[in-house]
Symmetry: C2
Subunit: 261 residues, 2 copies
Amino acid sequence: MDYSSMSPQSVKELIRKGEITCQTSGMCNGYAQANLCILPKELAFDFLLFCTRNPKPCPVLEVGDVGKKEFKFMAAEGDVCKDFPKYRIWEYGELKSEVTDISDYWREDFVYFLIGCSFSFESELLEADIPVRHIEECKNVPMFNTNIELKSAGKFHGNMVVSMRPIPDELVVKAVNVTAEMPRVHGAPIQIGNPETIGIKDITKPDYGDSVTINPGETPVFWACGVTPQNVVMQSKPPIAITHAPGHMFITDVKNTSLKF
Amino acid sequence: MDYSSMSPQSVKELIRKGEITCQTSGMCNGYAQANLCILPKELAFDFLLFCTRNPKPCPVLEVGDVGKKEFKFMAAEGDVCKDFPKYRIWEYGELKSEVTDISDYWREDFVYFLIGCSFSFESELLEADIPVRHIEECKNVPMFNTNIELKSAGKFHGNMVVSMRPIPDELVVKAVNVTAEMPRVHGAPIQIGNPETIGIKDITKPDYGDSVTINPGETPVFWACGVTPQNVVMQSKPPIAITHAPGHMFITDVKNTSLKF
């Protein structure tokens, strides 16, 4: 099945039915994808402030009203409990389980946060004739923890997570320019070619996602990643949090072009 | 005294001493200015969410930690209770008083919000040889209530306020381009040349600030304005809120150029 040219509605129907539970890179070309973090209202101000202070890894696309599972802006209809292919349940910073539906976990005091995802700009990279390796290799994007400490806010603190794409040397500047236009889905890279300066010791061993081939003549390029909130949850240890599983995103009804500044 | 070429530190010292209590347009060229809204923690999530949902009129530059008067990011030192030339105290949406120091009103549960201000891009307009009429006429910028309903969030709802600058017809496109680069201080205009479509009946009678001359061959251009939170406070009627007086801004230590995307 070629999901790249399918509509968000069609793909989400398959996700809701549990027929797609895999990662979503390359699906529904041209449409923005989103990361998820769900927290109780009591922690929502601190977390929204954390995102406001760290817009590069945590660009807020939408925040739900307290207790509401329905999307307000990024999708015409849907249910935040069913529309991601896979979720992670966290207690005091520890991963408790992975599930494909969180309806049974939902609480009336929960607030969901949709955060921009770099999968959104991959169709723009392809459009500009810049190859995207993990799509070519049918894998999840490689993601790494870094030593980049973020600005804390109330109970939340932690380090940035990045995604990596190997880019042919002569296309690196083009890749910067294409993605810089889209700050709401992480924008321009945060590091080019020097993984060790951001604390990445082994580029072949990602902390999340899959390892991909880096060919001679290619530079590893690092973008801020929406898995950052999971790292922040691990480090800040809130009593309860629900996130998506890395790479298993929400496909919005909003085109990337409408997220450009 | 020519405040336009003075440093933010020098001007703020005069403001703290009560020697400057006037509006700040044209002061400290090149440095970003900021609007203010202070609310109790209890309302802070709703208000931050309101700003997140309405980034054009309410671009958040900084949010203080609960109870903290010291700036974290936009200024090296200072006191949110003294560093604006004039404040407004609001109770249940009614203006109770205007003061030049709010130290006596400060509460341990207060959170301050600094919001981007269009005064920030005026030096960029001047640099591009685009005249700024209210600076030429030594006045406050004219500001208007509009019929543009904003996205509500929790207890907060209301309409957008805009600032108006008459721009020579042949420079309108240039003015759009110059300001579009600065989304954190309201960015590109929201209306060009048709005040009635956004509910402005009489362009010579601003709701806030001063009236300025519009010459033949000039188009009135409207930018989203950081007085919007005051309008939202009037419409949403929180028990207590403190804002700056329109035009009487905080001058940050951050250069406009560093706020560009």
